[in-house]
Each structure stands twice: as structure tokens, then as C-alpha cells.
């Protein structure tokens, strides 16, 4: 019997950032001695609970600063909640800002090995997949050149290509598809459709209504650190638009 527990669970998750008001000792020490505030607290997520079932594609929408990316970072395990509990079942592959961790002096191929291992592939797995990674990125010509000579589009293509070869169980995508040319965007969406068919759980942060509506089976609308609405994407976008119109 397959395991039916949700892929991602948020139980009353609150995330508070303690932003330091002073970046150096020089500023910090006098402020502390005078009893000024040395940190201000900023609540990004306030007591949020939701679940994502295995194989679901969830769109997360909302205005800038509403905590969408923070949710993805909590799922990726990069951040920890201030209170509450985040449960993630399965291997997470982040498509957040592709090419993070590329070293500019190393060649594309060397960066594939580096980045692949950071994303959780073993050396032998990378060796097996490198041909397919290069093919997908359409970068065969430049793969043995240092990535500092790459354009930002090439950088992103290689990054995406590595990330989709990790065989994720949970894929988290943050806006990235907004960059890159139309044909590569098309290719990315096709790849995401394939993942969806394979039963990969997808969390997708985007401002683009058409892509969320066509791709996701559910949407979550975040605003003011809370979940305002969730459900079928067209209906959730209606709530969102009503809020924008009423100046919320």
C-alpha cells in the first residue's frame, strides 16, 4: 500500500525575522549601551497551517513580501520556523535562483559536478547523467568554458538542467521561469508537465496568473503573513484581484 501521508505539512508555522538594526560593532555597541533597540522583529508568516498531498501542484501567490519565498525556504530546509512545525517527506529539489553555487572560474562541466553533488547526486549518478544534462541545456559547445563567460541566460539554462536531473520528489520553483527566452521557458514548462505526470509534488511561486491557472491544481493566496484563501486557482486569483482593487 502506498504511503498516503502528505508530502509537505505546515503546522501553525510562524516565522519571525530578527533583523539587526546595526551591522557593525561600531554601531551596535553605542546602541546597546544607550539601551536603543538593537533588533527589530518582522513577522513574515503568522501561524500558518496547510498540507500538500503527494503529486499535487500548488501555486503560491500574493504580493511582494507576503512570505511566499519564505515558505519555499522552509520547505527546502534552508530556514527553520520560529515556532510550529514543518514536515517534509521526500527529496526536495530547489529551482530557486538557478546556478547558485556556480564558481565563475570553473567550466560548465566542473560546475555540473559541483552543483550536482550539492543538490544530492552522487558522482556516479552525475557521470551517468552528464550527457543528458548537457543536451537539455543546449550548451554542448560551451560546456568546457569557464562559466564567467556565460550570459545570464546560459547560466540559468545550465542551472535548470542540473536541477531537473536530480529526480526530485518535491520540486520548489521560485519565479525563475520569468527569465530566459521564450523557447527555453516552453521547454521548462514541458519538463514540469512531465514531472507532474510522474507524480512529483510541485510548489510553485509566481505572479503569472496564466501559468498558475494552467499548471497548478490548487493555489494558496498569502497576504499580511496569513493565508487569505486557498482552492482552485481561478477562484483564488479572483479573491486576490478583489483585494488589489480594494487596496488591501
Amino acid at each position: 500500500m502506498p504511503d498516503q501521508s502528505p508530502a509537505v505539512e505546515f503546522h501553525q508555522v510562524t516565522k519571525v525575522f530578527n533583523l539587526q538594526a546595526q551591522k557593525t560593532f561600531k554601531e551596535f555597541l553605542p546602541a546597546m549601551l544607550r539601551g536603543h533597540q538593537t533588533a527589530h522583529r518582522h513577522t513574515v508568516l503568522d501561524n500558518i497551517s496547510f498540507q500538500v498531498q503527494k503529486g499535487e501542484s500548488i501555486g503560491i501567490i500574493g504580493p511582494n513580501g507576503s512570505g511566499k519565498s519564505t515558505i519555499l525556504k522552509l520547505v527546502a530546509g534552508v530556514m527553520s520556523p520560529t515556532s510550529g512545525k514543518v514536515v517534509v517527506r521526500g527529496k526536495v529539489s530547489p529551482l530557486i535562483e538557478l546556478g547558485a553555487g556556480f564558481h565563475p572560474e570553473l567550466t560548465g562541466r566542473e560546475n555540473v559536478y559541483l552543483n550536482g553533488s550539492i543538490l544530492g547526486l552522487t558522482q556516479s549518478q552525475i557521470k551517468e547523467k552528464i550527457g543528458s544534462i548537457i543536451d537539455f541545456s543546449e550548451m554542448a559547445e560551451f560546456i568546457d568554458q569557464p562559466v564567467k563567460h556565460y550570459s545570464s541566460g546560459m547560466y540559468m539554462r545550465l542551472g535548470f538542467s542540473i536541477a531537473v536531473h536530480v529526480d526530485p520528489e518535491i520540486l520548489i520553483i521560485d519565479e525563475i521561469l520569468a527569465v530566459g527566452d521564450a523557447s527555453f521557458q516552453q521547454k521548462c514548462f514541458e519538463k514540469m508537465e512531465i514531472f507532474k505526470k510522474q507524480g512529483v509534488t510541485i510548489l510553485y511561486v509566481s505572479h503569472s496568473q496564466p501559468s498558475v491557472v494552467s499548471f497548478c491544481n490548487r493555489a494558496i493566496y498569502l497576504n499580511h503573513s496569513q493565508i487569505i484563501d486557498q482552492g482552485a486557482p481561478p477562484q483564488v486569483f479572483e479573491t486576490y484581484q478583489r483585494d488589489i482593487a480594494s487596496g488591501q
Binding site: 560593532f25 530557486i96 564558481h103 572560474e105
Partner: protein
């Protein structure tokens, strides 16, 4: 000591990432410059030649009454491990800050970044060591079985280095002043450690401080065992081991307590 063991298990699980990170550091340096790895050898060699000139021809620091070791060898035997220590701690101190994009995007044990920068420095050290070996052969300095002591001494040094590095790297994420402070501390620390002078020149009333500074015990022990000065002082070495283990334990505890909010603070 439980946290040390669990940290080792974590790093072992991510050993391929660690190895890739070490390779990244080394390859990147090799590509950036024409002389590439030669700098790693040239740098301490030049340092040693200038210091030898200053401290053996001008200041005339006595090496060791009983032996006939040239000052240059006497110095180099201590300078190389000292440089390894200083370079490791300062490069590790910046390792988290310079990988901030990775820290905010992907999960892996953050200590990998610190450890990998230390490993890269160890490889540099091995290259620089070739000059020392050549030098000792040239002066026909006899070695004996005590040379095997360098293995435990090296391990103690790395325990201490990793402990300090974990502490400084995490603190540097909070306040960038830490890296500048560390630069100053390392300069002063070198003069408080018997690198350019022999340990027996230290007045007796300061001996206790020397016992508690693992680096002086370690540097002195290298010099003694490599240059045929007999076995290292076992008690001193034991104290250095204990101090190093405590440093490592505290370093890990501090690092762990901060690790959860690394991504928040960058």
C-alpha cells in the same frame, strides 16, 4: 562529546559535497593565476628567507644550543604549520559569508563549507612541505623515529583549527568585524607562539600561558620531533589535546546554535 560524533557522521554522509567543494577551491585558484600552485610554495619560501635574514643575521636569535640547525630550517619547520593554522582559520572565517547564495538556497550541513576551506589549505600545506623536505635533505639534517609524532600532533592541530574556525565563521555572519578582528588576533598570536624564537627562551613565569596556548605546544612539538630533539613533552601535548577538544566542542555548539538562523541573517 556527543555533538562531535554526530557532526562527523553528518559530514561523512555529505562527503562527496565536501570533496567537490575542496576541488572547487583548488581548481579555481589554479585557473586564476599564471603561476597557479607555485604561489603556494613561493609565498612561505619568500617569507622564510626574509625572516631568516632579519632574525639570524640581524637579531641573531639562538636556535638551540646543543644542535647545529641552521636558523632557516629551524624557522621553516614552525612557520609552515603556523601558516597552515592562520590561513585555515582566516579562510574558514570567510567561508560562510562568501557562500551566502548557497546558504539561502540549498540545504546541506553548513559545516561542510568551513571544513572544505580548511582541507584546501591542508593541500596547500602539503605542497609547501616539499621545500622543507628539500631543505632538510640539503643540510643533511638527521631524522629519527620520533618523526612519526607529527601525525598525532597534526591531528591535534586540526581539531583546534576546526573548533576555532566554526566559531569565527558563524560569528562573522553576524558581524563582519570578526574577520578584521581575527586578522589582528592572528598577527599578535604568532608573536606569542614560538615560531621565530625557540620555546626555551620563554621566561619561566610565562610558561603557564604557553602551556595553555595549544599552538605553542604544537609548534614546539613539531620542531622537536622533526629536528631530532627527542620526544615531545607528553603532559604538554595532553593539555593541548584537551584544550583543542574543548575548543572543538564549544565551536560546534556555537555553530549549531547559530546554524538555524544563518539564512535569516545574510
Amino acid at each position: 562529546m556527543f555533538s562531535i560524533a554526530s557532526e562527523i557522521v553528518q559530514i561523512y554522509r555529505f562527503r562527496e559535497v565536501l570533496w567537490q567543494m575542496v576541488k572547487r577551491e583548488i581548481k579555481a585558484r589554479y585557473k586564476q593565476s599564471i603561476l597557479g600552485y607555485f604561489w603556494v610554495i613561493l609565498n612561505p619560501l619568500a617569507q622564510m628567507l626574509v625572516m631568516s635574514f632579519a632574525f639570524s643575521l640581524i637579531l641573531r636569535i639562538p636556535t638551540n644550543a646543543s644542535s647545529h640547525i641552521p636558523y632557516s630550517v629551524f624557522l621553516y619547520v614552525a612557520l609552515l604549520p603556523w601558516n597552515l593554522f592562520a590561513n585555515s582559520v582566516s579562510s574558514a572565517c570567510n567561508s560562510l559569508v562568501s557562500s551566502s547564495t548557497l546558504i539561502t538556497k540549498v540545504y546541506f550541513p553548513r559545516s561542510i563549507l568551513v571544513i572544505s576551506s580548511i582541507f584546501a589549505k591542508i593541500i596547500d600545506f602539503l605542497f609547501a612541505l616539499t621545500i622543507l623536505i628539500g631543505y632538510m635533505a640539503w643540510y643533511r639534517i638527521p631524522i629519527n623515529a620520533n618523526i612519526f609524532w607529527v601525525i598525532p600532533i597534526f591531528i591535534i592541530q586540526q581539531i583546534f583549527t576546526i573548533g576555532l574556525s566554526l566559531f569565527f565563521s558563524a560569528a562573522n555572519l553576524l558581524y563582519r568585524d570578526v574577520q578584521y578582528l581575527l586578522g589582528l588576533v592572528l598577527v599578535l598570536w604568532m608573536y606569542l607562539t614560538p615560531v621565530i624564537y625557540p620555546a626555551d627562551l620563554v621566561p619561566t613565569r610565562f610558561r603557564l600561558i604557553f602551556q595553555l596556548n595549544p599552538l605553542s605546544v604544537i609548534i614546539n612539538a613539531y620542531r622537536q620531533t622533526i629536528l631530532g630533539g627527542g620526544q615531545p613533552n607528553h603532559l604538554s601535548l595532553l593539555i593541548a589535546t584537551v584544550v583543542s577538544l574543548i575548543t572543538l566542542q564549544l565551536g560546534i555548539l556555537y555553530f549549531k546554535s547559530r546554524e538555524k538562523i544563518f539564512a535569516d541573517n545574510i
